[in-house]
Subunit: 316 residues, 2 copies
């Protein structure tokens, strides 16, 4: 099959069309209409085999995840996803692999009604780059620089599950196969918190998605906002699976350090607390507050400081 | 250096800011303002070492070319480039390499006043994916599907030079070193025909950029427009360098088949011919005309048919 045949066969399977796509796939570029009352939000992320996902990851999960991490970045801005491009580098043409990849990719794309509007197919070591374009009303984006002292700090879902799944895959930790399967689901099929991000428009100050580890990602908010934070490590939301496999301090360490959860961490002024719980469509947990004094202070419930390792994922 | 340090040090060096970038690099995503009277044009292309450029290509040229091929796609739509993202996969951190890459990349970006608004840096075999976003007035895009019978077919610049340079690099053809150097310049530093593309708004019908070979790329216009073409192979624009190295039939074959020239091929209604030569800021050559009868007919000046090989670049 030629590149053109592959694109035609595998990547034009979305049947529902967005009305704002003026010219779809098949020309030198694609044309879309951006609503006049919206700003355009743009992000791009690459996943490479053996680095961002284990080489044995099922292709369906790779397709899901390559899109999910990009939608997660839009969610962290509070943006509504609209269009995506997919640049796929494949070691060989494998019809079964491509079908499964596309199943995972388009299932998530259809869930959020995002249209694939372009891409590129090349030959080489497996690597997937997605660019995602979203829309947001002017001045409504959730910026890393917008946290204020006394803001409450929240995270969605639970933390550390994807990291624990990876440790299981690497056979650094042994666990019950049922639990391993459950955790792998979180590693392979992260849920981008798109609806949460949109619901936070006008309620939250700052937001970021937890891709490199909570402590590392929260530090970006603190640096950009010129503030500090106090985090109660006993409040970190942990799944039953995580609590079953790890003792308390190992669980906390993983919840602070492990990447790949793609939960949102965000800050809200205390007066928005009640409004928040009504609007957000998933589990959220208050884990601490923003302080005027800089630095990230980690403490147990009783107030004594936490001193474990909290190194986030290093890319180089 | 961490990923964040590298991005800060190398990729935030553009000093001139576009006023339409509402939020630049440094958050989960970037925000731009799209003018209300414009449509958004989007393209993405990946270059991989050893496939899209020889491994020994200077990093400065790789930086230029990775951006140029994307700007070329926008040019083929008649769009004005505005913003770009860069996803870079590097085998290792090499300061000298990165500096030279950025020199090439940003020199071209600054020439066209396009702003780098995002990207990603990962570890792996050298590969560069750029997504380019451009703007065009509604209904003004040059579509592959817009060619009409009796349209004249033009190409910009000269054809086959990049292909000949590659044959020289691969030592399949020997040539004078001065000529080789000149041709390498065209292979390594293609000029995206951005101003030509914009000038063609309202004048040309269809357009495409010649990346896979003229015959192959023109065929896309013919297929999408449901028309045919007659091309006079004696009219194909050839550089002095090409004519010095190759005999006539080898030169024609390369001009029809070789990719990587990134010239524009476009069609105009005959009544726009005079207007065209006044507006377009580079060499352009009429090489034939669109026919109602389908198929691509190649002939010599005297009318007798050309029967050489004209296989374009196959991606898989």
């Amino acid at each position: 099959m030629t590149e053109f045949d592959i694109i035609k066969h595998y990547f034009t399977r979305q049947t529902r069309q967005r009305a704002d796509v003026a010219l779809g796939i098949g020309d030198d570029a694609t044309i879309v209409n951006v609503p006049v009352d919206k700003q355009l939000v743009i992000t791009t992320d690459t996943l490479s085999a053996g680095i961002h996902f284990p080489s044995e990851t099922p292709p369906n999960a790779i397709g899901h995840k390559a899109l999910a991490v990009n939608l997660s970045d839009l969610a962290a801005m509070g943006a509504h996803p609209a269009w995506i491009t997919l640049s796929l580098t494949l070691p060989s043409f494998d019809a079964a692999w491509l079908n499964a990849f596309c199943d995972g990719f388009f299932a998530l794309a259809n869930t959020h009604d995002v249209a694939l509007i372009g891409g590129d197919l090349t030959h080489g070591p497996l690597s997937i780059t997605v660019a995602a374009l979203g829309l947001i009303p002017a001045q409504k984006a959730l910026l890393r620089s917008a946290a204020k002292p006394n803001d409450l700090i929240y995270v969605t879902g639970t933390l550390g599950d994807a990291g624990l799944a990876l440790l299981g895959l690497q056979q650094k930790i042994t666990m019950d196969p049922t639990i391993q399967t459950k955790l792998l689901e979180k590693l392979n099929y992260p849920t981008p918190r798109v609806k949460v991000g949109e619901a936070l428009q006008g309620i939250a100050h700052a937001a970021i998605d937890v891709s490199d580890g909570l402590a590392s990602d929260l530090s970006h908010i603190l640096d950009e906002s010129n503030v500090g934070a106090r985090i109660n490590v006993d409040q970190l939301p942990l799944s039953d699976a995580l609590k079953t496999v790890l003792d308390k301090n190992a669980a906390i360490k993983l919840a602070l350090s492990a990447g790949d959860d793609y939960e949102l961490c965000f800050t809200i002024p205390p007066q928005h607390r009640e409004q928040l719980t009504k609007l957000v469509p998933c589990r959220i947990t208050c884990i601490g507050e923003i302080t005027a004094e800089k630095g990230l202070l980690l403490h147990y419930q009783q107030g004594n400081p936490y001193h474990g390792d909290i190194i986030g994922y290093q890319h180089f």
